[in-house]
């Protein structure tokens, strides 16, 4: 369809564009800026006056709960659209894990039917995610997996990781790893430090992350595999990533949006909404995260979306399930970080658009003539309260529940189609 988005402030982080200009879309792609192409007639016109037009957000980790919960994908896709997310990368820790081509095919089919965001499945690196036998990653890549992951922690048997890297390198496939050494994390539930010490919470030492990173980079040097590390949490860990990039290792890294904002002190009186994996760490670690986003050590911010229910959290802190909903708070929390850190909007949006797109290696996350028309139109100043009613996702658990955030999506466009729209002050 021929879509005109008029009078919006177009921000494209990749080119550094930040100007008020009309955008013209046809056949699912950006056709022109400023003036309509010759002979082009609008079939729909969106008035974006006072609004920002940006590339649709690309979220490097959001759990759709399928396979697992029947019908969950549709709901979480609507949540993604409500959050302005047009590209969702879903990890393989589903039920059952994404280690078979049939499951991936089914998931992609359901995603197409859901008409939500684009879905980029990450396949399981090992069968059942057990960490012992390789999954058929070349076949899985053939049915659409963009990368292969071991979730939660590194495989206990490092020879498996070594061989997995070699095998992936054979086919130039990327490995996405969570930098946690399980034996050092132990039964910890909070970041090691004064807060965990005071609260008497079993803690996860920083070495659980740094030893894992050292292992990953050593094996990477030996194999040449492409690696993405997900959810950094500590200053020393970030420094290792920085050094690895300086060395020229083919590595990228992301951080969860909650770790850009929150620290261990925020746990307060054992509020299990703040039980996250990796755990919240100290002020110094958060400062390092913010600096790493600025200097490119961290390539992206993801939501780490985990739709949990009240039953998962109405437990003592150490027994509660870690995680929080994130698809709908990713954008306003990114904006909040930009405002409080004094970062220009295009630099902040890079972390959730062109940055993750580059990690993915997909041609999305940018606004340019000829590019795919995946866009988000939002009011950066519209306030809304985060409640069970305003959240579309089945996951109503977030540390920011009850908070008033600024930044509300008005239109979400995927492949040139308006798949989500909301009038100001109205329901989705």
């Amino acid at each position: 369809m021929n879509l005109q988005i008029a009078r919006g402030r177009v921000i494209d982080p990749e080119s550094g564009t930040d100007r008020v200009v009309d955008v013209f879309v046809s056949d699912g792609r950006i056709a022109a800026f400023g003036d309509a192409p010759a002979g082009w007639v609008a079939q729909r016109r969106l008035d974006a006056a006072g609004l920002v037009v940006a590339p649709g957000l690309v979220d490097l980790c959001a759990r759709m709960r399928e396979p697992g919960v029947e019908g969950a994908l549709r709901v979480e896709m609507r949540a993604a659209l409500a959050g302005g997310v047009t590209g969702v990368v879903c990890p393989p820790d589903t039920d059952p894990p994404l280690d078979e081509p049939g499951l991936v095919r089914m998931l992609r089919q359901r995603s197409r039917e859901a008409q939500g965001a684009r879905l980029y499945p990450v396949g399981a690196l090992t069968t059942g995610l057990q960490g012992s036998a390789l999954a058929e990653i070349e076949t899985l890549a053939g049915v659409g997996c963009v990368a292969f992951a071991q979730t939660g922690c590194l495989p206990r048997d490092k020879s498996v990781l070594l061989q997995a890297m070699r095998y992936a390198r054979t086919f130039d496939l990327a490995l996405w790893l969570v930098p946690v050494e399980e034996s050092l994390a132990g039964s910890g539930v909070a970041g090691a430090g004064a807060v965990a010490g005071r609260l008497g919470l079993p803690s996860i030492p920083v070495v659980a992350e740094t030893v894992a990173l050292h292992t990953i980079f050593e094996l990477q040097r030996a194999t040449g595999a492409r690696i993405h590390v997900g959810r950094l949490s500590s200053a020393p860990g970030i420094e290792l990533v920085r050094a690895a990039k300086r060395e020229g290792l083919p590595v990228s890294a992301d951080v969860g949006i909650h770790h850009v904002h929150l620290i261990d002190v925020d746990i307060g009186y054992f509020d299990s909404n703040f039980r996250l994996d990796p755990p919240l760490r100290t002020q110094r670690d958060r400062d390092a995260i913010v600096a790493a986003l600025a200097d490119g050590t961290l390539d992206a911010i993801c939501s780490d979306h985990a739709p949990l229910g009240a039953d998962d959290k109405l437990l003592p802190f150490g027994e509660a399930a870690p995680g929080a909903t994130g698809l709908e708070t990713l954008l306003p929390l990114t904006l909040r970080w930009a405002a409080s850190a004094g970062i220009p909007l295009d630099r902040a949006l890079r972390c959730v658009t062109s940055g993750p797109a580059r990690v993915l290696g997909e041609d999305v996350g940018r606004i340019a003539v000829g590019a795919k028309a995946d866009l988000v139109v939002f009011d950066p100043r519209e306030p809304w309260r985060v409640t069970g009613d305003t959240l579309v996702s089945d996951g109503k658990i977030t540390p920011f529940i009850g908070y008033e955030l600024e930044g509300r999506v008005r239109y979400t466009i995927v492949a040139g189609e308006v798949r989500h729209e909301r009038q100001p002050g109205g329901a989705s």
Binding site: A192, A194, R198, G200, Y269, D271, P316
Partner: protein, 328 residues
């Protein structure tokens, strides 16, 4: 039904009601000093109750106190029961199996069921740090939650009876050196004692133990850290010995009880490094020959048995004050 603080600012101390009075007792941390002193002063008046013919006061008559022990402990539960009965309350003991999933009933479901039985006060012991805060957020406004020990986090009544004991023998907190020795990392007794002693103005609180048993951030709590027992108890006025649990004695934290006793066990020789009038305390139960030598535990400087007596009076004071009963 949600507790009164459910809609209040999330950072207000959930133990205090809107007038700043003690409503729950969950942790010593964040308790204003006057409240701690009031509890200790009130305990003074209850000490005499035990010596009387009629060993009870009617302060909690008609109230129902439920002892909810998710972690077994006969001694603590018994002292709370005695304390509640001496206040004329009706006491009900529930020993729930250690695993909260053993019957598939969640912690809060259990609380809801008991609340329906008109409980006025829950005395809770739980293996997971923070559980009493969850319970306190969940109970009806008139119900009081008293923490009898949660995971590694807090054991406030123990800290209060320790403070009472120290005041009884040493009078003034403000010129004391108190050493806490042992497995600080896993000890709710240690954490609560540290908060109580620093709040009450003890100028030097020391933690003594091997590095594997010391948590991070002790200095930020106002504690001087020692890894050698000799240095840690030299010149101390009070020594609090902590129990070393069996499971710590093997494996990666400590090689053996024998080596622990060699380095951290309180023997008569080591005790001589402290002040001559130093008192020796222990929350119990003791592992004789592991953290403390029998001759010290039973010796003239030990106040371990009086601690138990004081414990009943302190728990009576806590229950009376939390229930908003008038001063005696």
């Amino acid at each position: 039904m949600a507790s009164p603080d459910a809609d209040a600012l999330p950072r207000r101390n959930p133990q205090l009601n809107r007038n700043g009075e003690l409503h729950h007792l969950i942790t010593i941390e964040g308790l204003p000093r006057p409240i701690i002193e009031r509890i200790i002063d009130t305990a003074d008046s209850f000490i005499n109750v035990a010596a009387r013919e009629v060993k009870s006061v009617p302060l909690l008559r008609g109230r129902s106190v439920f002892n909810l022990f998710f972690e077994n402990s006969t001694r603590t539960r018994t002292t709370f029961e005695i304390a509640a009965r001496r206040l004329s309350a009706d006491v009900f003991n529930l020993n729930i199996a250690a695993s909260s999933t053993s019957k598939g009933e969640s912690l809060l479901d259990t609380i809801d069921n008991l609340s329906a039985m008109q409980a006025d006060m829950f005395v809770v012991r739980h293996a997971t740090s923070g559980a009493p805060f969850l319970i306190a957020r969940h109970v009806a406004p008139h119900v009081h939650v008293i923490n009898a020990g949660d995971g590694r986090h807090a054991h406030p009544t123990q800290a209060l009876l320790d403070a009472y004991t120290i005041r009884h023998y040493k009078k003034d907190f403000r010129n004391l050196t108190v050493a806490i020795v042992g497995d600080i990392l896993h000890s709710r007794v240690a954490r609560s004692a540290i908060h109580a002693l620093t709040t009450l103005g003890v100028p030097e609180v020391r933690a003594v133990g091997p590095l594997t048993l010391l948590p991070a951030g002790l200095e930020s709590l106002g504690v001087r850290v020692f890894t050698r027992l000799d240095d840690g108890i030299r010149g101390a006025d009070v020594i609090i010995m902590l129990r070393l649990q069996n499971e710590r004695m093997r494996g990666a934290l400590l090689p053996s009880a024998h080596e622990y006793f060699r380095n951290y066990g309180l023997t008569p020789e080591k005790l001589r490094l402290a002040r001559p009038d130093a008192i020796v305390m222990h929350p119990g139960p003791m592992n004789r020959g592991v953290e403390i030598d029998s001759s010290v535990a039973d010796g003239p400087q030990s106040v371990i048995l009086p601690q138990v007596t004081f414990g009943i009076a302190v728990r009576m004071a806590v229950m009376a004050i939390a229930s908003s009963s008038p001063r005696i």
